[in-house]
């Protein structure tokens, strides 16, 4: 199989048109001694049926959330994905379209991305948003780089309750940019606002917090924003978009840049990617924002259309002076998120958020009743919380898996002082029955 559709006979007539005897002649510019002498050491190709069998056997070696009840979170969530999302966003036309540089041939994707940008503004409470970035972690890094273009400062304060993957990614980027990354300590699982006040100074470029934070806890956004702004620092919030169903949005608290992982908006888990980075910001960032931006344009009859705007920010025009190197980003994931948000709408997202809230609180309350288990932090949380236990966590989780439950994510990989803790995420998909089953297994463990 090679997905070509030119027959041997046709090849011959093409060669004749070109005026050569063989394809080999066309390859002449590649010097013989540089060539690969043998065939590639790869398996031979195969038919569709054989390929399916191979893929199915690999797929069968993975457990998936349909087989085992998923209470895992920490950056990826088993939210419900309405059937519409797959059906509409994965259509062949969207799937196989190119980047919409040729506007008139791309109105469908352009309009969808314009609507996506608007919906991201609507759920973050911000003025503008781009058409996507790689993922939540790189979006934070890009946000810091963007903040950097508005300030001479080099110091970035990051809440210790940011997702450690995000922090590590940020550090990877920051190292090349000689940015100084300092962390802000926590008080009972929440960014310590006093510590922040002490740490922030006029050398501070930006303060980065996550909402809800890595432990599921709702941060005191107003205090954080005020503290940062008082010192002249920009505020970057890494945001779970589902929270917009229930809580005041970061923009309403005055955040400067809101980024986040859009996976909860109808994107399957896919073992961690492709997910969706999004970035929203105040109007003033319009010419500094990385990635693509779609804007309204008119044709000569004044009909409404859409095209990419401010391309002069981008690498293919500005090259080394571009606002970012991002080229291909996550278009189709933005499409999925757009279909998801359009399908859920204001009231649907509210219901999702409320179900997450009530179910996670029910789970926390029930688990807290168990001997040897407690909820680690007392601060308000949304859909995820940390459990502390006197049991051996690897054994405990293995025992839950045997009962058909992926009970949570151990914290010790990232936090050595949390050897006895694991995080439980409860989405709207989890039923009372499933939560009760979890509680029962934990009790027995």
């Amino acid at each position: 199989m090679d997905y070509t559709q030119i027959t041997g006979e046709q090849q011959q007539s093409m060669l004749k048109t070109i005026g050569v005897k063989s394809v080999e002649e066309l390859l002449a510019p590649i010097p013989d001694k540089q060539r690969l002498k043998d065939k590639l050491n790869l398996p031979v190709g195969c038919s569709e049926m054989e390929l399916l069998a191979d893929l199915e056997s690999l797929a069968a070696k993975n457990c998936h959330v349909g087989k085992r009840v998923c209470f895992l979170g920490c950056g990826a969530y088993d939210h419900f994905i309405p059937t519409l999302v797959d059906h509409l966003a994965m259509r062949g036309e969207f799937l196989t379209a190119y980047t919409p540089y040729q506007a008139e041939a791309s109105q469908g994707t352009l309009q969808a991305f314009y609507e996506f940008q608007t919906m991201i503004c609507q759920i973050t409470g911000m003025d503008i948003a781009n058409a996507s970035l790689y993922d939540g972690a790189t979006a934070v890094a890009e946000a810091v780089l963007m903040a950097g273009t508005c300030s001479k400062n080099h110091r970035v304060l990051v809440s210790q309750a940011c997702n450690p993957d995000t922090l590590e990614t940020l550090k990877t980027y920051a190292k090349e940019q000689s940015l100084e990354i300092d962390t802000v300590p926590l008080a009972d699982g929440q960014t310590d606002c006093d510590a922040l006040k002490a740490a922030v100074d006029n050398q501070t470029l930006a303060v980065v917090v996550q909402f809800p934070n890595f432990f599921g806890i709702l941060e005191q956004l107003q205090q954080i924003v005020d503290t940062a702004h008082n010192a002249g620092a920009q505020v970057i919030v890494s945001y779970d978009p589902v929270a917009a169903g229930m809580f005041t949005r970061p923009g309403e608290f005055g955040a400067d840049i809101v980024v986040g992982e859009g996976q909860p908006l109808g994107i399957p888990l896919q073992y961690g990617a492709p997910f969706l980075g999004f970035m929203a910001a105040k109007e003033s960032y319009l010419r500094k924002i990385p990635g693509r931006l779609v804007g309204v344009a008119k044709d000569k009859d004044d009909s409404r259309g859409f095209c990419l705007v401010l391309q002069t920010r981008e690498q293919h025009i500005k090259r080394e002076r571009a606002t970012s190197n991002v080229c291909t980003n996550q278009g189709l994931m933005a499409m999925r998120a757009a279909v998801y948000m359009a399908s859920m709408g204001r009231s649907g997202l509210a219901k999702v958020a409320e179900l997450c809230f009530d179910k996670s609180h029910y789970a926390a309350a029930e688990i807290a009743k168990l001997e040897g288990f407690s909820v680690r932090f007392k601060q308000p949380f949304f859909k995820e919380f940390v459990v502390q236990t006197n049991r051996n966590i690897p054994d405990l989780l293995a025992c839950c898996r045997e009962e058909g439950i992926d009970a949570g994510v151990p914290m010790h990989r990232w936090f050595t002082d949390m050897e006895d803790c694991f995080a439980i995420a409860v989405t709207e998909k989890r039923t009372k029955q499933e939560i009760d089953a979890l509680v029962t297994v934990l009790r027995k463990s």
């Binding site: 390859l27 590639l40 196989t96 993957d165 804007g295 344009a297």
Partner: protein
């Protein structure tokens, strides 16, 4: 025939927001089966006061289906159109790949699942790493980068780490003037300075200019081969020698890999690090602008700096994520790579296999040279062939009295996505048909191209006012950029 646009939705589609009626929702969600937790008692009031302020549109299920179906009918796609987009390799995206990616065992797996429960995915990733290593002739491959540009950045970070590790700080990255914009932009992300190397008239690197610019401050040379003019630079081994002699490394932009699979391996001719674009070479879809994937291959020297975690096979034959890479540049993203995309690339690699990849490259080369031969009497080819998988023509648009933009928009009328324009040479067209087009489609493309030279002569306004067959006429992007409207607002008509 003039249709009143106010009642003809097939002309101007409403925005999703214009379809909203408060109270509608396209998804029915279950009622809660747990007791309600009192919000006020556990959430600070300032967080609750704005609850529900998000203004997402409220649209019923049928209207959501219609909206996106209509949008889908307003976009070019490989599924309907030829995309002879040089350097972008818009080949057919096999449907079996989509079926693979949608298997629950790949699609619905959580990244924090226990390692024993994800052996199939890790095996697929490991096999893909090994296949890409074999194709590139390099020692190892990381699947983490999310796209080509991200791969460049990852590669440059490893180059930085390599030099730092050797106690030197090299800041300059050389790249031919025909390099893709992401190359210099990625340098900027890594605080490296990109310096242009002159190309010769035939698109090959000017070795003298290269020699004159290489020094102890050179971190690397970034090269695309075949280059963006569609020419294979046979000096690649010499270039590698020059670069290596200066203690620098050779970075290979794999965007044009489609010309050379199974024919030449970058690692065999001195390349130290390269990225692949799965969404070009390995048939994963473009998705209207991603997601793609930009795996990076490295030679042995750079292995210690690979991003973490790295997919490995341990002695027992099990697959694992190795976090223990002391000199790693760290993480460049969340989790482990664009798994859903890697599944598709894997499916493609397995389908084509040992011989198919080479056949694909050969056919891609044949197709490009065929088009060049058929249109050469009408379209000047500044660089003589044979070409790799793409070639450049620089039509005399000025003499034709039109701009390349006119030309591009008119091609759209003919159902053809315009080739890459004005890059790497001003006013050029870069044509890459790929191997998956039929002879009929290639012939039709040539026929349209030739016909357009006539159209330009006989009726240049046809081009100047193009496109005519699209849902909107030519858009005024100057006005659109003057005061950009990048989001809809209630009561301020877009």
């Amino acid at each position: 025939m003039a249709i009143d646009p106010s009642i003809n939705e097939s002309q101007e589609l409403p925005l999703i927001f214009e379809l909203s009626s408060p109270g509608n929702c396209a998804v029915s969600l279950p009622d809660s089966d747990v007791p309600e937790t009192d919000r006020a008692s556990c959430v600070p009031s300032d967080l609750l006061s704005g609850g529900g302020n998000n203004q997402l549109p409220e649209v019923g299920e049928l209207d959501v289906v219609r909206h996106y179906t209509r949008l889908a009918h307003r976009v070019f796609s490989i599924d309907e159109h030829i995309y002879p987009l040089g350097s972008c390799t818009m080949k057919y995206n096999p449907r079996i790949n989509e079926r693979a990616a949608a298997m629950p065992g790949f699609m619905n797996v959580h990244p924090h699942q226990n390692i024993a429960d994800v052996q199939g995915i890790l095996e697929l990733m490991y096999r893909t790493q090994r296949m890409l290593a074999e194709i590139s002739g390099l020692a190892d491959v990381t699947l983490q980068p999310a796209a080509g540009a991200h791969g460049e950045m990852t590669g440059l970070m490893m180059i930085n780490a390599y030099h730092r590790d050797r106690g030197c700080k090299r800041e300059v990255v050389l790249a031919p003037d025909s390099a893709h914009g992401t190359n210099p932009a990625s340098c900027t992300i890594c605080s490296m300075k990109s310096t242009k190397i002159r190309s010769r008239a035939d698109g090959r690197v000017d070795l003298d200019d290269l020699r004159s610019k290489v020094d102890e401050n050179t971190a690397a040379l970034m090269i695309t081969n075949p280059n963006t003019c569609g020419v294979f630079d046979d000096q690649i081994a010499d270039i590698a020698d020059i670069i290596h002699a200066a203690g620098a490394l050779l970075y290979y932009d794999g965007a044009n890999m489609n010309a050379t699979m199974g024919i030449i391996r970058p690692g065999d001719v001195g390349v130290d690090v390269m990225h692949f674009n799965t969404h070009k070479t390995f048939s994963t879809p473009h998705g209207g602008g991603g997601p793609g994937a930009g795996p990076v291959g490295v030679c042995d020297k750079l292995r210690p700096y690979l991003p973490r975690p790295h997919v490995v096979r341990n002695d027992a034959g099990d697959f694992d994520l190795n976090y223990n890479i002391p000199k790693s540049i760290g993480k460049v993203r969340s989790f482990y790579g664009q798994v859903g995309i890697i599944v598709r690339a894997y499916a493609y690699l397995r389908a084509l296999g040992r011989d198919g990849l080479r056949r694909a490259s050969e056919q891609a080369v044949l197709n490009a040279n065929y088009i060049a031969a058929k249109i050469k009497e009408h379209y000047p080819l500044p660089i003589p062939g044979p070409y790799a998988h793409e070639f450049i023509t620089v039509p005399d648009f000025e003499r034709m009295g039109i701009t390349e933009r006119d030309f591009a928009k008119r091609l759209i009328d003919h159902g053809i996505h315009p080739p890459t324009m004005s890059w790497p040479i001003m006013h050029c067209l870069m044509v890459e048909p790929t191997e998956t087009e039929s002879l009929r489609a290639l012939d039709r493309f040539c026929q349209v191209m030739i016909k357009m030279t006539d159209e330009a002569q006989s009726n240049p306004d046809l081009l100047r006012n193009a496109p005519h067959n699209t849902v909107v006429g030519r858009l005024d992007d100057v006005a659109a950029n003057r005061k950009p409207n990048v989001r809809w607002m209630a009561n301020s008509p877009a």
